[in-house]
Each structure stands twice: as structure tokens, then as C-alpha cells.
């Protein structure tokens, strides 16, 4: 196989081939490192490439050493807010430019324990506090589909790296949409699991009560495989849920016949690009053809959830950064400094009332999801915007359909469902009940089985 063929492998296929002895972890790692070396100058998807460490791990995997496990010898990459022992973890911030953790984050330890090889640390929006990945300290990450467009964020390096075939899977985090927005804008698959499903221990926080960790990969099966590895109770993460963890690969091919899928037409199908709307409408028909029943549902007051989530997110971020912002204001970009200082001006009553409104938001979604099994929505109202002309309204637009399930913690999958006339990817979003990631993934698998959007490759990625 040549370099392109190796980069096109799914994570599951590569893992299986390595297990069967038909694929060399060294050859696969070298191919991806060569792609990174060639494409990094244009895409800037990585902040730190750990080539020597990856080569050593690949050699060990090839020699049959290492932990073994479902990801034995498979190269992945990590958003640079997950602590890595001995490797700097910047969170995309100047303030953390020299921060070298002593221990791996819980999810990094789980990936290593499953045999995965880390290729390095992926670029991100500064402190995960934004959705464009226009990072003033480490440079902007560019969208592989069009270098003048944003990749989305804050896990934009993860989205760009997976889309460009620089790694077979990646980890992201999602507080206002930071897994799902780059997944949609880069044309890959990303899952924000239920709040508490995946440990956040060792991940630099943005907003404690809204931070989620999840997989980003080329397809649904790969997300399920990664979730199998990273999900599970962690008593050292106060938000971790002690819930049974199913095998997310089991039942993945069981289809959607007999399931009901809700279309929340009000809000989610309003004020959006026509091509996005048409692509998601067409996706709904794919689900209908596969045997699902479509039903229009109402998610009451969902238009207020962006404000509610915004107050909680900014207030918690301001609390986390308060001391270091006082001591090292020069360590923050002007935009982040502005937003964090403004966060200190929220009255305590606004935060508490937002948390009270949040309880109602959860009840509203629970009501909608008592009528149907899943909700289908667009992931973002628009495709990737250009770097020129970005503003605060960009953030409001891109998070409009993702913020509600960060607020309510519901599992939400984004996958590609088309392209606009400019060749930019469009994403759909499937939302499920708490801890029903398996059902969300199962439906997503139906969609990708019936379509081939995920197989398209960015022309600029080589």
C-alpha cells in the first residue's frame, strides 16, 4: 500500500490488519509521519509532533511488545489539552507554552493501554474558548477542504488532521460544540458522549459542568471503537458517571427499522443555509427509507439555551482562569482576556438562574425524547466560514445547534451528509437520550452505510 492508501485506512481496518499481521505498525506510522511533515506547513494541525516517541512505540508494537489491546499499533493524535506525561500540553495557550505534565490524562492512559500510538498534540483554539482555531500563539489551523476557511474549533486540529489523513483518529473535547463543529466543517465524524461518560481528568478545563471528551474519526465505527476504549467510570473525576458501559460496536449494524426520529423543525431548521437544510432533509429521507419513522417534534424554548449555556460557560471559565489572569495577563490573547474579564462581571444570580434554567432544558429535551428515539438536526447552520471577517457572531452562529446538548449533556453525533456548491462539507447531528450513545451510533452507521460522503477526500490534502 502506498502512503495515501495507508492514510485512507479506517482505524478499525488498520487495527484488524495489524492484529492479523498483514499491516506493519512501523510502515503505517512512517506513512502518517511523512504526511504530517508534508502537509503540516499548510494545515498547521499539530502544535507538537512526537515523531521519535511514535516511532519507538510503533517498533515496540511491531515486535509484539506493549500492552496489546484493540488499538494495538494504531496511530492517533490528541487535542493539546489532554495531559501527556513528559510532552508539553499547551491548551493552545501561550501561558502553557512550557507546561509539561507529569502524568497522562485518563483518556490518554486508556488509549495507550489499548495499544494506540500518539503521533502528537493537535492545534486548538486558545484554551478551547472559541470555535475558529484562529490561534494567535501557535498559528491558525486551516480547513483541508479550503485553506482560506476555518476548520471549526476548538478541536480544529483534530478535525483537520483526521480529514487530511494525518492520523486515523483523534480525541477532542466539547463544551459548546468543540468536537461537533470541526467534525461538521471538516467532513468527519465526531461524537460528544453523554456528560460523565468519559473522564475529563487531566484535560485542561474550559467549563467544568459542560466539558465533554469524545472521539473524532473517519466514520461511525471508528468513533464506537474509540469510545469503547475511553468510556467508563473514573472515581477521580467528580463528574464521572458510574453507569454501565456497553460494547459500542455490538449492535452497530442493527439498523433503524422501527425507530422514530424527531425533526425539531422550529429553531433547528430555521435561519440556516439552504444547502445545509436541503442536505439534512435528504438525510432524513435516508433514515425513512431505512425503516425509521419521521416525526416533527418541539423542543420548547430551545432558542434560549444558547444564552443559558453561554452564561454558565463564560462564568465557569472566568472562575478557572481568575487567578492566572491576574498574575499573567500577558499569557492570554486580547480576545480571551476580554471574554474572561467579562465573565467576572456576571452576577451570581445570573449563574444560578442559568443553572435553574438548565434543569428545565433537560426536562424539555427529555419530553421530546419521550416521543421519539432520536432527534435529527443540522450540526451547524452554515458551512466553514472564511477567516476573513470572523467575529463574535461567528461563534454564536456555529454553536447555535450544538450548545443545547452541552447544556443538557445529551449524546450527540455529527457526521458528513453532503457538500455545498463550494465543495465544503455539511454535517448532520443525531441526538439521543442520556447514555444511549449506542443507539446514536447505530443510527449514524445506517446513514453512512447508505451514503458515501465520508469517503470523499479533501483535494488539497494530497
Amino acid at each position: 500500500m502506498n502512503e495515501r492508501d495507508l492514510a485512507d485506512l479506517t482505524l478499525a481496518t488498520a487495527a484488524s490488519a495489524i492484529r492479523a499481521g498483514t499491516l506493519s505498525p512501523v510502515a503505517l506510522t512512517e506513512a502518517l509521519l511523512a504526511r504530517i511533515e508534508r502537509l503540516q506547513p499548510a494545515l498547521n494541525a499539530f502544535i507538537t509532533v512526537t515523531a521519535a516517541e511514535a516511532r519507538a512505540a510503533a517498533r515496540a508494537a511491531e515486535d509484539g511488545r506493549g500492552p496489546g489491546g484493540p488499538l494495538h499499533g494504531v496511530p492517533v493524535a490528541l487535542k493539546d489539552l489532554f495531559d501527556t506525561a513528559g510532552v508539553r500540553t499547551t491548551a493552545g495557550a501561550k501561558l502553557f507554552a512550557d507546561r509539561v505534565p507529569a502524568e497522562d490524562a485518563a483518556v490518554v492512559a486508556r488509549l495507550r493501554g489499548a495499544g494506540a500510538i500518539s503521533l502528537g498534540k493537535l492545534n486548538m483554539h486558545e484554551f478551547a474558548f472559541g470555535v475558529t482555531n484562529d490561534n494567535p500563539h501557535y498559528g491558525r489551523t486551516r480547513n483541508p477542504w479550503n485553506h482560506e476557511r476555518v476548520p471549526g474549533g476548538s478541536s480544529g486540529g483534530s478535525g483537520a488532521a483526521v480529514a487530511a489523513g494525518l492520523c486515523l483518529g483523534a480525541l477532542g473535547s466539547d463544551t459548546g460544540g468543540s468536537i461537533r463543529i470541526p467534525a461538521a466543517l471538516c467532513g468527519i465524524t465526531g461524537l460528544k458522549p453523554t456528560y460523565g461518560r468519559v473522564s475529563r481528568r487531566g484535560a485542561v478545563p474550559l467549563a467544568w459542568s459542560m466539558d465533554h471528551v469524545g472521539p473524532m474519526a473517519g466514520d461511525v465505527t471508528d468513533c464506537a471503537l474509540l469510545l469503547n476504549v475511553i468510556a467508563g467510570h473514573d472515581p477521580l473525576d467528580p463528574a464521572s458517571a458510574d453507569q454501565p458501559v456497553p460494547d459500542f460496536l455490538a449492535g452497530l449494524e442493527d439498523g433503524v427499522r422501527g425507530l422514530s426520529i424527531g425533526l425539531p423543525r422550529r429553531f433547528y431548521f430555521e435561519r440556516l443555509n439552504n444547502e445545509v437544510a436541503a442536505a439534512v432533509e435528504a438525510a432524513a429521507e435516508v433514515f425513512r427509507a431505512a425503516g425509521a419513522r419521521l416525526q416533527v417534534v418541539e423542543v420548547e424554548d430551545v432558542e434560549q439555551m444558547g444564552i443559558t449555556g453561554g452564561v454558565i460557560l463564560v462564568a465557569e471559565a472566568a472562575a478557572y482562569h481568575q487567578r492566572s489572569l491576574r498574575e499573567h495577563p500577558e499569557g492570554y490573547s486580547e480576545d480571551i482576556r476580554r471574554r474572561l474579564l467579562l465573565g467576572e462581571l456576571y452576577p451570581a444570580t445570573a449563574y444560578v438562574n442559568a443553572q435553574r434554567a438548565r434543569g428545565r432544558a433537560s426536562a424539555v429535551f427529555a419530553r421530546a425524547l419521550s416521543e421519539v428515539d432520536l432527534l435529527l438536526t443540522p450540526a451547524t447552520p452554515v458551512t466553514a466560514p472564511p477567516f476573513s471577517g470572523l467575529g463574535s457572531e461567528t461563534r454564536d452562529t456555529l454553536t447555535r445547534f450544538t450548545m443545547p446538548t452541552d447544556l443538557t449533556g445529551l449524546p450527540s453525533l455529527v457526521q458528513p451528509c453532503g457538500f455545498d456548491a463550494g465543495g465544503l462539507p455539511i454535517g448532520l447531528q443525531l441526538i439521543g437520550r442520556p447514555f444511549e450513545e449506542a443507539l446514536v451510533l447505530r443510527a449514524g452507521r445506517v446513514y453512512e452505510h447508505a451514503t458515501d460522503w465520508r469517503l470523499r477526500r479533501p483535494p488539497l490534502a494530497g
Binding site: 459542568s209 452564561v311 474579564l341 467579562l342 443553572q355 438548565r358 427529555a366 449533556g409
Partner: protein
Amino acid sequence: MTAPHQQLEPRDRLRAHLNALGLPADEATLDLLLPGYPGLLSGVARVAMMPRPEDEPASVFRVAGALAPAHFPEEADA
């Protein structure tokens, strides 16, 4: 009746707000924060008007921690 500080121009109101919290209110800080300040005030006002459970003070602390309906049956039934 409008409180006196609410009659101020946004820049003066921001300065008063920062002073009340003991935060720096120099001109550079005002320049930095002023573009986002009206949005903050609007957000605070909107959150204050939002529907929310009035009889569930405990739900204040029900941040998303445990979401399974079985954990909070009364909210799931709401």
C-alpha cells in the same frame, strides 16, 4: 423605576460595575471590555426572565452530573 447606575452611558456603567467589584477600571480595560459589555447585560437580563423551576432549589445544583432519567424522575416527568 430605573436605578441610577442604569441611566449611565455604557462606558460609565461599565466603569461603575468594575469599581463596585474592586476590579481595575483604567481606560485600557474599559476599551477592552466595552465591545462585549452590552451583550453581557443583555444575557443577564434574558437569563433573569427565563422560565425555570420555582419549587426546586435543589435543582440549582443539578448541573449535568448524572443525567439518566432514573436519577431525577421528577424532572424527567416534568
